[in-house]
Symmetry: C2
Subunit: 346 residues, 2 copies
């Protein structure tokens, strides 16, 4: 099995993706083909041996072979013409913009490249936290109360009181997130968040709330789940601590939960995953408050694929790669145009 | 102004797009560059003079120049190498799959090609009728009651009674839509709808309901609206009648409505459009029942761009082309990786 790991791209989380991609080398025994997408969205084939983060920060990757995405896959120029890069399946490991907002999914689908990762609808509904809330509510999954503030509109909270959390709607990895305790802090926190998105979510900050992460996917109509992790945090993970998360390869300890609560989390995960997330391994981050499960967010391309939550991550990935959704068949018939032509006697 | 009209693609509405594209030739005085995407998703440059529907149904288009989409635009091979197809802006005129589901938006954004059309989030929320309902409800816009039936689950209505309408969640142009009056008819109608999508929406069929269409867009923070049309219909537009709709170039008569109702429709349109649909000219199809406005559906790539609803369609299009949203700037800094390297003394 040859896995093409696609990483980088035009994203605030570009560096996280680089770290995540390199972390997977330690984990996977399968053959890896590294495809780097730089900030300009040009693709490069990076030799697996010797891959390192400095290669990207220094610009040295530009000496490697440039690739072009066309029907059927990634092509490299050769003396005689071009050659398809051989791989069985791409793993979309681009965090944030491009990777999680639906662009990479669209590209790979459009060019008929098989891939592990969220499809375009799944991307849009999980990348934008407002849409995640809408989607969860539609399915009867609880979410914390929230309100939306848009850039250049009045900065006033109507339903949420302090302390509260300010989050850009469309970013992961805690970028631009603040806890706000007073109205004086609100303005600054909004300035920070609006650096990243013109739409911001406000949620109550609930001190006693527990947080649990559960990763999984569906293969052959059966769910494969990771252990449940209780993420370590001070008040909230800051960016640097989250970064560490992305390079994690060591297994973590299971959260201390009742079988009933694990079951509840898994059932909520199933409701969220439905058919929408087919083809992807996602991590759902839940809150538990007074024994009730709330969806916090969906990570459709979790840091280093949440490998550290699985006992045998590689076999899950390989199983998933054999259970990718197929695109709808559409037959080229020109039935309508032909019938009009026939009626006109042409 | 050189407009690149992008049409065709892998879609059940491929032929509609061909008809729609050719109709625009009659309407626009601007220079048109026709870019055809065939069922295999290969791009071709079609000479504007002599473009006709048979060219596509017969396969004759394959004699034309093949194009490749890369950073900056569409390229054609030349003897010496390759040449960028010169155009100021692409008009996404692909109806249904590819064009309205977010794929084309993603491709054009990824490759930095300016375009008129819905962006990826706008596409996903308007293409899937279930998500449109979620979105409208979130904004406080009324929708008809509905339920969702998935393929391979129990075919039972719980809240909706007969007569009702069965619609595939993800198709336009009335394809796969049926009115069902008895439980005997339900099964057949679901079979038909499931040919096109594995998710189906059921809505009550309300005989006395009025239907109004309103198209528009936002330029320089001001809305430009079309007239309001009351579409002619028997019980419901069937596919053939809808087809005619796509080749329409003649202006229609304005619906006979009070100023107050026109204002209500426009205000509802604004709520829906927000920032989400920036860069696109959309048509919202509304129901009015007992003087209340309900959103039926959003057409983010309406048939022949709803040109027949505007007094001066071309000037609206040109104005819009000068008010396209820009992508967020993301600076390549490698701040985190550099700081780690520095800490390691590398």
């Amino acid at each position: 099995m040859k896995i093409g790991i696609l990483f980088g791209a035009k994203s605030f989380e570009h560096e996280i993706s680089v770290v995540s991609a390199i972390a997977l080398k330690k984990i996977l025994n399968s053959q890896i083909v590294y495809i780097f997408c730089d900030y300009n969205r040009d693709f490069y084939l990076i030799p697996t041996e010797g891959i390192n983060s400095k290669q990207f920060s220094s610009g040295a990757y530009k000496k490697e072979k440039k690739l072009e995405l066309k029907q059927g896959g990634f092509y490299q120029k050769t003396f005689a013409g071009q050659k398809l890069v051989s791989l069985d399946c791409v793993l979309n490991l681009i965090h944030g913009g491009d990777g999680e907002d639906g662009k990479i999914a669209s590209l790979l689908d459009f060019f008929h490249v098989p891939y592990i990762g969220p499809r375009v609808e799944a991307s849009v509904l999980s990348y934008n936290k407002l849409y995640t809330k809408m989607y969860a509510k539609e399915l009867g999954v609880k979410v914390l109360p929230y309100e939306v503030i848009h850039k250049n509109t009045e900065r006033k909270l109507t339903n949420i009181s302090f302390p509260c959390i300010i989050k850009p709607s469309r970013l992961g990895s805690s970028i631009g997130v603040s806890i706000v305790k007073t109205s004086e802090e609100l303005d600054y926190a909004l300035d920070v968040a609006f650096e990243f998105d013109n739409q911001v979510l406000v949620e109550p900050f609930m001190a006693g709330i527990s947080e649990y992460n559960l990763a999984g996917c569906k293969c052959e109509n059966e769910f494969v789940f990771s252990i449940v992790e209780e993420p370590q945090k001070s008040e909230i993970l800051d960016f640097d601590k989250k970064y560490l998360d992305f390079s994690r390869t060591q297994r973590v300890f299971e959260a201390n939960l009742t079988q009933e609560m694990i079951y509840n989390l898994q059932e909520t995960f199933k409701k969220i995953y439905t058919n929408l997330f087919e083809g992807s391994l996602i991590r759902c981050d839940f809150f538990v408050y007074e024994n009730e499960v709330y969806l916090n967010e969906i990570n459709p391309v979790p840091g280093s694929m949440a490998n550290y939550l699985f006992e045998d991550f590689e076999s899950v990935l390989l199983k998933l790669s054999k259970n990718l959704p197929t695109q709808q068949k559409i037959i080229c018939e020109y039935r309508y145009i032909n019938s009009i032509q026939a009626a006109k006697g042409k």
